[in-house]
């Protein structure tokens, strides 16, 4: 006998999806709050037992340790931990910035070589990618540093070529000392780059409006290189090279490139380029053959097909994973600790943490710095990606 029912069937309160959802969420939040409370209590107790005062006051204390590579003024006697923080951060940014540029160039070369119709080139590139991708980065860094750079000749048997000195303490390059016209040359360089970009934009506009192509490569090159040269000559062509001077125990003068820096940069570029190469290859392959064939049918040349048809479409596929690789390179630069390059982690999370014992503060700052770096990089790349993204009709 079926009973008469009015309205929707009623379920037990706990079976109501909405109610259950709220209960689950409250339980989860409670659980996490309890865990957090326990952690906070334990941390305070443990810190009190070890007599560590918390707070960020230690950043103003004198650091008193030396750093082998500093981009800003830093002295052992007077500089604070806060200063050391900035030195480390700048060193990390230096290696990450240079690494990203070089790895992109090398990665594109390898990625395009992977698709070459030349059998030998394609297979050598493939071997490179397979070998590099399947060996841990840390092992590669240790190899470059300990087995290759440490095997370079000692100070007394330095290799000297064209004023540069190379030995197991680093690479020493001649340092150009510009005369009074330096500012003028730099200004000309900036103007050259700006006008080259403007020229490119104008050429693109004209291409879109009239279909006429203007070759800009030669004139851009002339602008970027020619303007500074003219400015240099106008300013009196005054430049003096400070050659590194080989002493008995050290090298005086010149620009010094630390072996740690060299090994880290080389290792990171070689490693990341192998991944970028695969990203590039996948991107180029993602453009369907029909596009290339249609372009060829329209009478475009090989170079035009690549520049006007294939690359603009491949870009959209390439950019998101490329961003990931840039972030990976930045994060991987923290492996500098293994070979003693004074990057952010080595200086701050290593030395500063050991000297002050402020574990919580130091680790929190470290995590915040890397999160900020990651978020900035992805924001910039997302902005670029939104610009080149496919606009649906």
């Amino acid at each position: 006998m079926a009973r008469e029912r009015t309205g929707p069937p009623r379920a037990a309160l706990l079976d109501e999806p909405k109610f259950r959802g709220i209960v689950y969420q409250i339980l989860l939040c409670l659980l996490i709050a309890l865990a957090a409370a326990a952690v906070v209590r334990n941390v305070t107790e443990n810190l009190a037992r070890n007599r560590i005062t918390s707070g960020f006051g230690f950043l103003d204390q004198t650091a008193g340790f030396d750093i082998s590579q500093t981009l800003i003024d830093y002295s052992v006697q007077t500089s604070t931990y806060g200063r050391a923080f900035w030195v480390g951060l700048l060193n990390t940014l230096l290696i990450a910035g240079l690494g990203i540029v070089l790895a992109t160039v090398w990665g594109f070369v390898i990625g395009i070589a992977r698709l070459s119709r030349n059998w030998l080139v394609a297979n050598v590139a493939r071997g490179y990618v397979e070998l590099i991708r399947n060996i841990p980065l840390l092992l590669q860094l240790l190899f470059w540093y300990n087995a290759v750079l440490k095997a370079l000749p000692e100070m007394r048997e330095s290799i000297v070529f064209g004023g540069a000195v190379l030995n197991n303490r680093g690479l020493f390059l001649p340092q150009p000392n510009f005369g009074p016209g330096t500012g003028l040359v730099a200004l000309a360089f900036v103007i050259g780059i700006a006008s080259a970009l403007g020229l490119r934009l104008a050429a693109k506009r004209r291409l879109e409006r009239t279909g006429q192509t203007i070759p800009v490569f030669g004139s851009s090159l002339a602008l970027v290189i020619g303007l500074p040269v003219i400015a240099f000559l106008l300013a009196g062509a005054e430049v003096r090279l400070v050659l590194p001077e080989l002493g008995r125990f050290n090298v005086r003068g010149g620009v010094e490139i630390l072996p740690e820096f060299g090994a880290l940069l080389f290792g990171l570029v070689v490693y990341t380029a192998a991944f970028i190469a695969e990203v590039v290859r996948a991107g180029l392959l993602s453009v369907s053959r029909g596009q290339t064939e249609a372009a060829a049918a329209l009478g475009l040349r090989r170079r035009q097909i690549l520049n006007l048809i294939v690359i603009p479409q491949a870009k959209r596929v390439i950019i998101p994973p490329l961003t990931n690789q840039y972030l990976n390179l930045t994060k991987n630069s923290s492996l500098a600790v293994a070979i003693g390059y004074p990057d952010f982690v080595q200086i701050f999370t290593g030395t500063v943490l050991n000297q002050t014992g402020q574990a919580v503060e130091v680790v929190v700052i470290t995590l915040a710095v890397y999160l900020a770096l990651s978020l900035t990089t992805s924001a910039a790349m997302n902005w670029y990606n939104a610009r080149v993204a496919y606009v649906g009709r």
Partner: protein, 398 residues
């Protein structure tokens, strides 16, 4: 040269006659000289021409690459094999190779091999490590062989039974007569394998939970999962490990303070589960919406829908990516180096500066050995992932 007139036939001559009568049409009345036959297109020479010398630019590239290989490969082969020292008792053997020039010092690797595999694990108990390796190999084989019988049982073995037995076996349990071995004594390949295995066994379930959490309709669950995943993915593994090793002891009462290896394991598991979550989420997204709707229409609740309908498909779709993230995890285990754990790389680092074997070639030899170890396993896993991808693509086409 061919003779044009000798080749003329009736059809051609008739066409010529028509052409001559019409003034405004030009028709060629003489044969063009025949082009030479194409150069060899088959055989080794044809292959060379098509693949190495198809254009002047390609020819230059080929010559450049050949020159590079001729410069790089012979010294490498000489170092690794021809000049290498294969046996000896100490560094004296490796100072000069069989042909004068010092090559790779394989005698060093042979001498320290047991240290590279077991670390300082007590010699009398090393059979326990061997047994663990055998159990692990059995479990991996069962899981990787896609057509193996009783794969569900295999998963139960790998994710539940084996970890428990392996813990008792390696750590020891005095009740059944296995003496306790302190984790500080573990080292080499053993630690690398333990860290990788724990990472895999723990990160897969955690990654599934996090991935489901990130796609959940409950805002608190979604926000917390997303925050955790993005936070961990935004920082380097090395800082996660530092955090685990300096902050974990602060988080718990002193009596519970975890040992070094456990701290590193916690760091590795947190890190790899965040990456695993993203890989699994990609699989979840790839399952067609109709599958979710059909499961709901059948009246399945959340966990049964996920467990019976969605996850089996999602995991299958994303299996190549899961294997790839295992490769990344395997390589990343080298970073436990920084928190004082003696994994394979760390044992090589320690052994290469040992005065007994210190020669100019010891470092390079040690690194070459470690590189081969990592390369072989990563390469095999990558090939396996490729094969599954191919198999899935084939299944998709039907």
């Amino acid at each position: 040269m061919w003779d044009a007139e000798a080749m003329s036939d009736p059809v051609e001559t008739s066409m010529m006659r028509i052409a001559v009568t019409e003034d405004d049409v030009f028709v060629r009345s003489q044969r063009v000289s025949v082009l030479p036959p194409p150069l060899i297109e088959t055989g080794p020479i044809g292959w060379l021409r098509a693949n190495l010398f198809s254009s002047p630019f390609n020819a230059i590239l080929t010559v450049a690459v050949v020159t590079f290989l001729a410069w790089a490969v012979p010294p490498l082969v000489r170092f690794l094999f021809i000049d290498a020292t294969w046996s000896g008792a100490d560094r004296e053997a490796c100072l000069a190779g069989p042909h004068g020039e010092a090559g790779a010092c394989w005698a060093f690797v042979r001498d320290r091999l047991s240290y590279f595999i077991y670390g300082s694990y007590p010699i009398a108990s090393r059979w326990r490590v061997d047994l663990f390796f055998a159990m692990l190999a059995f479990g991996i084989g069962w899981l990787l062989w896609l057509d193996a019988p009783r794969r569900l049982l295999g998963a139960l073995y790998f994710f539940v039974i084996m970890p428990i037995v392996a813990y008792v076996l390696l750590n020891g349990w005095s009740l059944i007569g296995l003496p306790i071995v302190d984790t500080a004594l573990w080292g080499g390949v053993l630690v690398t394998v333990v860290v990788t295995t724990v990472g895999i066994v723990a990160s897969l379930p955690l990654g599934i939970v996090l991935a489901l959490g990130r796609r959940s309709s409950l805002p608190a669950v979604r926000v917390l999962s997303t925050m955790f995943i993005e936070f961990v993915r935004g920082v380097p593994l090395i800082t996660v490990l530092f955090m685990a090793s300096v902050m974990l002891p602060l988080f718990v009462p002193p009596a519970w303070s975890p040992d070094k290896l456990l701290r590193a394991l916690v760091g590795i598991v947190l890190f790899s589960s965040a990456y695993m979550a993203e890989v699994i989420r990609a699989g979840l997204v790839a399952v067609p919406l109709g599958q979710y709707e059909a499961a709901r229409a059948l009246g399945l609740r959340f966990w049964r829908m996920q467990g019976l309908i969605i996850l089996p498909q999602a995991l299958r779709i994303t299996l190549p990516n899961i294997v790839n993230s295992f490769i990344a995890l395997f390589k990343d285990t080298t970073l436990v180096f920084f928190v004082g754990i003696f994994d394979l790389l760390k044992t090589v680092e320690v052994a290469r500066v040992d005065p007994k074997w210190a020669t100019p070639v010891t470092s390079a030899t040690g690194y070459a050995f470690a590189a081969m170890f990592y390369f072989v396993f990563c390469f095999l896993m990558a090939r396996y992932a490729d094969r599954i991808e191919y198999r899935l693509a084939r299944a998709e086409r039907r």
